[in-house]
């Protein structure tokens, strides 16, 4: 069974605390500690972004789309989609910072990193033992890492124990 896990969002569990952003940045630093990260010459950037609407808080991340516009638009061949896992990845050695993906990502999940001249986006913390750092760090379980089925089951469970509304 291919591993089609990704990061899902339950927006109304998000309090906007931005712990995920910190965890993401630290995970993508050289030192992997917050103290180390802030003193790095090129401080790391987070890939997940907590966005706020009127009555909405949304920790938005790459959704590893079925039909990834970023992949179709990439003129350096840096973006690829793993047919097994569905993961959309950027080969940083090939990215030239042309911002084509930034121009077409419908979610704004591909962001320009002007300091490095390259795009940044979620890499699902590939190779990290505990899975994506943002999910592990979220104190309110607004982020979920798993398959679509696992996510639906998680939502049901959250409803049953009354953490999220029964109406949805």
């Amino acid at each position: 069974m291919p591993d089609k896990r990704k990061v899902f969002v339950v927006s109304n569990l998000c309090t906007g605390c931005r712990t995920c952003e910190i965890a993401c940045a630290v995970e993508h630093s050289q030192s992997k500690t917050l103290l180390g990260a802030i003193s790095e010459e090129l401080p790391p950037r987070y890939r997940i972004q907590v966005q706020a609407g009127d009555d909405l808080k949304l920790p938005l991340n790459c959704l590893h789309c079925e039909e990834p516009d970023c992949l179709f638009a990439c003129k350096s061949g840096a973006v690829s989609k793993n047919p097994e896992t569905g993961q959309v990845s950027v080969d940083m050695s090939r990215c030239v910072g042309c911002w084509m993906c930034v121009m077409v990502c419908p979610f704004g999940a591909a962001q320009p990193d002007h300091h490095r001249g390259k795009v940044i986006k979620c890499d699902l913390c590939e190779g990290r033992a505990g899975g994506p750092a943002c999910v592990e760090a979220c104190p309110t379980r607004a982020l979920f890492y798993g398959t679509n089925e696992e996510f639906r089951a998680f939502i049901e469970e959250m409803k049953q124990i009354g953490i999220i509304g029964k109406s949805a």
Partner: protein, 428 residues
């Protein structure tokens, strides 16, 4: 089934990859008149500017063709399509039979029509071949002139500048980027280029390229004559439609296609810079010669060639670039032609930020972003889906256009947001 694809760039590769998603077995032949393996035309300016290493222009790995079981005939020119027997004729006399044929023949730089254009040292700037010729001239050149103030022209100028050439951009219009941005945005970039040591000469037409065999000066219509050893012309691109001659394929500047990228000739499709498609924002038939559209059109053509029925929702005018560290993205209709449009712009010289939004009725139809280009794709998506943005218009004008803002529209206009990804963000 025999698939034949003429053209080995974005549209051609997009088609080949799409065909292989559907049909793992049938023969795919890509024919290209360029000797190189698939490379990214759109990156030659990046190489000239030293942003990427020489020879790093490939956008698929070397093993791509063998892995996908695609035969490539490089350096071969198709001279004729014989639709009576479904064959293409190569220059050397060989023929290649097809069941489905894709014309992804791209475009060629338009001639300037200026006297002396054939002199050595006057170049178009489109292919790897052009780039190699420019490299040879770069070594001997002290001064260079770029004719054209669009994205390619500006990138070419940055490239010459990188090679320590004293560079002048000369344009007929009064402002840089005049096709894609407002005068004040153009003037901002002019100041940026001048600050970086590139001269900009506006409102002039070249009258003659002078010299012997080699270019020595360019004479302009204001009487000035600038010495130069290298000229790059950026007058835009003309679709390569020659092969359509003698077929039922309809030409209107480019090759006319339907919503499946099919031409009027059975079993022949067209995609990329050669293809006329419907612009999904302006609803006009046009050639949108940009990489993302080319790949997507190739993909749609490929899927349909392989028997899937997939409709193309139309192309979009869009471009992205980065000049001296200042990012630039332009999408949709940015120069409204009549009073039916409403434009708003915001400009901060200090912060190097410029932003323009163009509306028609309740729809966002165009945007220009300079400096901060984050979330540009959200705007592209709003235009592409043609959704009513009236409830978030104020947000847009304030520069707030992230996904959270767009999500306000999703509930009310659910029918426009059917992709699975929208269901994965659960707003309970």
């Amino acid at each position: 089934m025999n698939y034949v694809i003429i053209g080995n760039s974005a549209a051609g590769i997009g088609a080949a990859e799409a065909i292989r998603e559907v049909d793992a077995e049938s023969a795919i032949v890509i024919i290209s008149d360029e000797p190189e393996s698939a490379y990214s035309r759109a990156l030659i300016s990046y190489e000239l500017a030293g942003w990427i290493d020489k020879g790093e222009l490939t956008f698929r790995p070397p093993e791509f063709y063998t892995e996908k079981n695609i035969e490539v005939q490089s350096g071969q020119r198709v001279v004729k399509i014989d639709t009576s027997v479904n064959e293409v004729h190569l220059r050397g006399g060989d023929t290649v039979p097809y069941d489905r044929l894709l014309l992804a023949t791209g475009g060629s730089p338009q001639k300037t029509g200026v006297k002396g254009e054939e002199k050595e040292g006057v170049f178009g700037f489109r292919t790897y071949g052009d780039l190699q010729k420019i490299y040879k001239s770069v070594k001997k050149a002290k001064e260079g002139i770029v004719l054209g103030g669009g994205c390619i022209g500006l990138q070419a100028a940055s490239g010459l500048h990188h090679h320590k050439i004293k560079t002048t951009i000369a344009i007929t219009s009064p402002h840089l980027l005049s096709q894609v941005a407002d005068p004040e945005c153009g003037d901002f970039f002019q100041a940026l280029f001048e600050d970086n040591g590139i001269k900009v000469k506006t409102g002039v037409k070249p009258l003659e390229f002078k010299g012997g065999d080699r270019i020595e000066t360019v004479l302009f219509d204001d009487g000035t004559e600038l010495p130069t050893q290298l000229v790059i012309t950026g007058k835009g691109v003309k679709p390569n439609t020659d092969l359509a001659q003698g077929t039922k394929i309809e030409i209107d500047w480019g090759i006319k296609t339907d919503d499946r990228m099919a031409t009027a000739e059975p079993n022949i499709y067209a995609a990329g810079d050669v293809a006329v498609t419907k612009d999904r924002v302006s609803c006009e038939s046009t050639v949108n010669a940009v990489w993302p559209c080319a790949y997507e059109q190739g993909r749609i053509a490929g899927l349909n060639m392989a028997g899937k029925k997939v409709a193309y929702d139309g192309s979009m005018r869009m471009n992205a670039a980065d000049f001296f560290g200042v990012s630039f993205i332009s999408i949709g209709i940015v120069k409204p032609v009549d009073a039916g449009y409403e434009s708003h712009s915001y400009f901060s010289q200090d912060q190097k930020i410029y932003r323009k939004m163009v509306f028609k009725g309740n729809h966002l139809v165009g945007a220009v972003l300079v400096g901060i280009v984050d979330n540009a794709g959200v705007l592209t998506n709003l235009m592409r889906k043609r959704v009513d943005v009236s409830t978030i218009k104020n947000d847009l004008l304030q520069g707030r256009y992230d996904f959270a803002v767009m999500s306000k529209l999703i509930k009310d206009q659910m029918e426009s947001f059917q992709e699975p990804e929208y269901q994965e963000i659960v707003v309970v």
